[in-house]
C-alpha cells in the first residue's frame, strides 16, 4: 500500500495494475478525498476493464502460433487415441490402432461394460476417492499443527523432529517399502483405515517442511496478542494461524492429492487384492504371463483419465500454482 500511496501523487499516468486491492484503494481514495483526477482514472480503468494489452501479431508470430497449434494437437492425440480405441474390438486395437472404428470393429460400450466387470471399477474408484480425501485431510490438519508446534517451541527435540522430517524427503520409497509393509502388517494397518495413517506418516516430511517455512513468516505479535487476551494454544492456532495457512494448505493438498491418487506401489504392498485402488485395478487387467486385454484397458484408461481432466479444468489455477510452489520449495 505504501507503494501505491506514492504513485497517487505522480503526474505520469498510473501503470495499469489491475488487482482488487488496487481498485478498492482507488475507489476508497476517490470517495474519501473526492479527487477529480483519481475519479477519471477510475472511470478510464472501468471502460478498459477486461481488455488485455493488445500487441498486434506479426507474420513471424503467426508462424509461431501455427507451430504451437500443431504441437498442442500432438500433445492431445495420445488421449484422443485412447478414447477412439476404447470403442473398438480387441483385435482392431492391437492391429490398427490409428484407424477409426467402423462397421464390425465398432463395439459400442462393450469394452466399458467388460472392463468395469473385470476389475470392479466403481468400488476401486470410490476406494481411491476415500483414501485420497481422508489422507489429504489428515495430512493438512495434523502436519500444520505439528509444524506450528515445531516452529513455536524451540527445544532440542523439535529441532531433531524438523531434521528428521527434512531428511525423509530425500529417501526413496524403495528403501523403506519392505520393512514398512511388515510394520503395517504387524500393527494391523493393512486396510483402508491403516493406509491413511501410512500416507500421513509418509507425506509428513514435505508437508511439515512447507508449513514450517510459511509459519516462520507469520509475525509472532498476533499470536502474543491473542494469548494475552486469553486464547489457549488451540484457539490461537485454529483462529489465527490456520486461516493464514490457506495458500500453503492448498499447495500441500494438491501435491499430495496428485501423489496419492496416482500411487500404485504403496497400496499394492499395504492393501489386500480385494481392496484394489484405481491404479491397482488398472494394473490388474494385465493378466498373468503379461497378456493384456487392450480393448478393455483402453476403456478403463478413459474412465481413469476423465475425473483427472475434470478436476484439472475446474481448479487449474490452483493446480499449476501449487505444483510450481511445491517444486520451488521441495
Amino acid at each position: 500500500m505504501a507503494d501505491l500511496n506514492k504513485k497517487q501523487w505522480t503526474t505520469e499516468p498510473i501503470t495499469p495494475v489491475d488487482s482488487p486491492e488496487w481498485r478498492q484503494f482507488l475507489a476508497g481514495a476517490a470517495k474519501d478525498m473526492n479527487r477529480k483526477q483519481l475519479k477519471t482514472e477510475l472511470d478510464a480503468k472501468q471502460t478498459t476493464k477486461g481488455a488485455k494489452p493488445k500487441v498486434p501479431m506479426t507474420g513471424k508470430d503467426w508462424v509461431k502460433f501455427a507451430i504451437l497449434v500443431i504441437i498442442s494437437i500432438a500433445f492431445i492425440v495420445p488421449i484422443l487415441l485412447v478414447l477412439m480405441n476404447s470403442f473398438k474390438s480387441t483385435i482392431s486395437v492391437s492391429n490398427e490402432p490409428f484407424a477409426f472404428p467402423s462397421g464390425d470393429t465398432f463395439v459400442g460400450f462393450d469394452n466399458y461394460n467388460n472392463g468395469i466387470e473385470k476389475i470392479d471399477f466403481f468400488p476401486a474408484f470410490f476406494r481411491s476417492i476415500f483414501v485420497t480425501v481422508f489422507s489429504v485431510a489428515f495430512l493438512i490438519l495434523c502436519t500444520s499443527m505439528c509444524a506450528w508446534f515445531i516452529v513455536r517451541v524451540k527445544t532440542w527435540y523439535t529441532k531433531l523432529m524438523y531434521l528428521l522430517f527434512a531428511f525423509s524427503m530425500i529417501v526413496p520409497f524403495q528403501m523403506v517399502m519392505y520393512p514398512m509393509s511388515f510394520v503395517a502388517n504387524q500393527l494391523h494397518l493393512d486396510n483402508m483405515i491403516g493406509i491413511v495413517v501410512i500416507y500421513l506418516g509418509f507425506g509428513a516430511g514435505l508437508a511439515v517442511f512447507m508449513f514450517a517455512g510459511f509459519i516462520k513468516s507469520v509475525p509472532l505479535e498476533i499470536e502474543e496478542a491473542a494469548m494475552i487476551d486469553g486464547c489457549g494454544p488451540i484457539r490461537t492456532f485454529f483462529t489465527i494461524d490456520f486461516p493464514i495457512l490457506r495458500p500453503s494448505a492448498i499447495t500441500v493438498a494438491i501435491l499430495n492429492a496428485m501423489w496419492i491418487w496416482n500411487d500404485y506401489l504403496l497400496p499394492t504392498l499395504i492393501l489386500s487384492n480385494q481392496e484394489r485402488t484405481l491404479p491397482m485395478a488398472i494394473q490388474y487387467l494385465r493378466g498373468g504371463y503379461g497378456s493384456i486385454d487392450m480393448a478393455a484397458m483402453m476403456a478403463m484408461l478413459v474412465l481413469a483419465i476423465i475425473p483427472i481432466i475434470i478436476f484439472y479444468f475446474s481448479c487449474q489455477k490452483y493446480i499449476i500454482k501449487g505444483v510450481v510452489a511445491g517444486a520451488v520449495k521441495g
Binding site: I71, I170, G201, E224, F311, I320
Partner: protein
C-alpha cells in the same frame, strides 16, 4: 526511557516464554499424531531397512546376520543390478537433456505476445497429472501400434523400450518444466532486455548473456526435478515394458522390487540394493541443496 524499553523487552521475552510453555503442554495433540504415523511409516522401517541389508531373511521375524554378503551379491551375483544401473543412468541423461531443452523452447515461445498462451500452457501441462500406470499403458498401446507395421512390439528390442520410456517421460514432464521456466523468464526485468537491445545484442546474444544467466535458479530446479524423477521412475517402467525383454529395460526401482518380491531368499539382497539406491538418490539431492545454497550466497 531506558528503563521503559528494558521493561518492554523483558515483558516481551516473558510473553514468548509463557507462550512456549503453554504450547509445550499440548504436545500430545499438536505433534504426536504426525510423529507416531511418521515413526510407523518412515523412521522404524528406515532403521530396520539399514539393519536388514546386512541380514539373510525370508520374513522379517527370522533373520541371520551375514555382514556385507548382500552387497557383494547385489553387484556380483547376476548382472541385473548393474544393467539396471546402466540403463537408468542412460535413460536419465537422455531424458533430462531432451525434456529441459524442449521445455525451455516452449517457454520461450509462450512468453512472446502470441494469442492463446494460456490455452497452450493448459494443454502442455495436462499429461503431468495422469498417473504413471495409466501413462505406461497409453504409450504401450501407441508404440505397439506403430511397431505393428514393422512386425515388432515394444518388447522385441530393448532399444524400443528405452526410446518409448524417453518419449513417455517427455510427454509427461515437458509441460511441468515449461511452467517453471515461464515463471523464471517472466521475472526477468524488461529493462535488462531493453538495455541489451540498445547495446546492439542480437536475439541469440540476448538469450546467452541475459536470459540464461537470469533464469539460473529455474534451470537448477528443473534439472534436479527431471533428474530425480527419471532416476526413481517405477510405475511408468512397470506398465510400459515391465523390464522385458529379459530384464533389459529394467530400471533400478523395478529391479529392487523384483528382487524383493520375485525371488525367494533374496530379500536381503533386495534391501542391500535399496540402500545403494538410497545413497545415490541422497547424493543427488544433497548436490542440489549445495548448489542452490551456494547460489544464494553469491546473490
Amino acid at each position: 526511557m531506558k528503563l521503559k524499553s528494558c521493561f518492554i523487552t523483558f515483558y516481551k521475552f516473558s510473553v514468548t516464554a509463557f507462550m512456549e510453555k503453554a504450547i509445550k503442554k499440548w504436545f500430545p495433540l499438536f505433534a504426536l499424531p504426525t510423529l507416531v504415523s511418521f515413526a510407523i511409516a518412515f523412521l522404524v522401517p528406515f532403521a530396520m531397512g539399514i539393519y536388514l541389508s546386512f541380514c539373510k531373511f525370508k520374513t522379517v521375524k527370522k533373520t541371520e546376520f551375514v555382514g556385507l554378503d548382500n552387497y557383494i551379491k547385489a553387484f556380483s551375483g547376476d548382472k541385473d543390478f548393474l544393467n539396471a544401473l546402466w540403463f537408468t543412468t542412460k535413460f536419465t541423461i537422455v531424458s533430462v537433456i531432451t525434456i529441459n531443452l524442449i521445455a525451455f523452447i516452449f517457454a520461450m515461445l509462450l512468453t512472446k505476445a502470441i494469442k492463446g498462451t494460456n490455452f497452450f500452457r493448459t494443454i502442455f501441462f495436462m499429461p503431468n497429472l495422469i498417473g504413471g500406470i495409466v501413462l505406461g499403458y497409453i504409450w504401450n498401446m501407441i508404440i505397439n501400434g506403430v511397431l505393428f507395421y514393422f512386425n515388432a512390439t515394444i518388447t522385441t528390442n530393448a532399444n524400443y523400450g528405452f526410446w518409448g520410456l524417453v518419449i513417455l517421460m517427455n510427454w509427461q514432464l515437458i509441460g511441468y518444466m515449461m511452467i517453471i521456466y515461464i515463471s523464471g523468464i517472466q521475472n526477468i526485468s524488461p529493462d535488462l532486455i531493453e538495455a541489451a537491445e540498445i547495446d546492439g545484442a542480437n536475439a541469440w546474444e540476448r538469450l546467452i548473456h541475459v536470459t540464461l544467466p537470469q533464469i539460473m535458479p529455474s534451470i537448477t530446479i528443473c534439472l534436479f526435478l527431471t533428474l530425480t524423477n527419471s532416476f526413481k521412475l517405477f510405475d511408468q517402467n512397470y506398465a510400459l515394458t515391465a523390464g522385458a525383454p529379459g530384464n533389459k529395460t529394467q530400471m533400478l526401482a523395478l529391479d529392487i522390487y523384483n528382487t524383493f518380491y520375485g525371488r525367494v531368499g533374496y530379500q536381503g539382497v533386495g534391501q542391500a540394493k535399496a540402500v545403494v539406491f538410497f545413497i545415490i538418490v541422497a547424493a543427488i539431492a544433497l548436490t542440489q541443496l549445495y548448489l542452490t545454497r551456494s547460489k544464494e550466497v553469491e546473490n
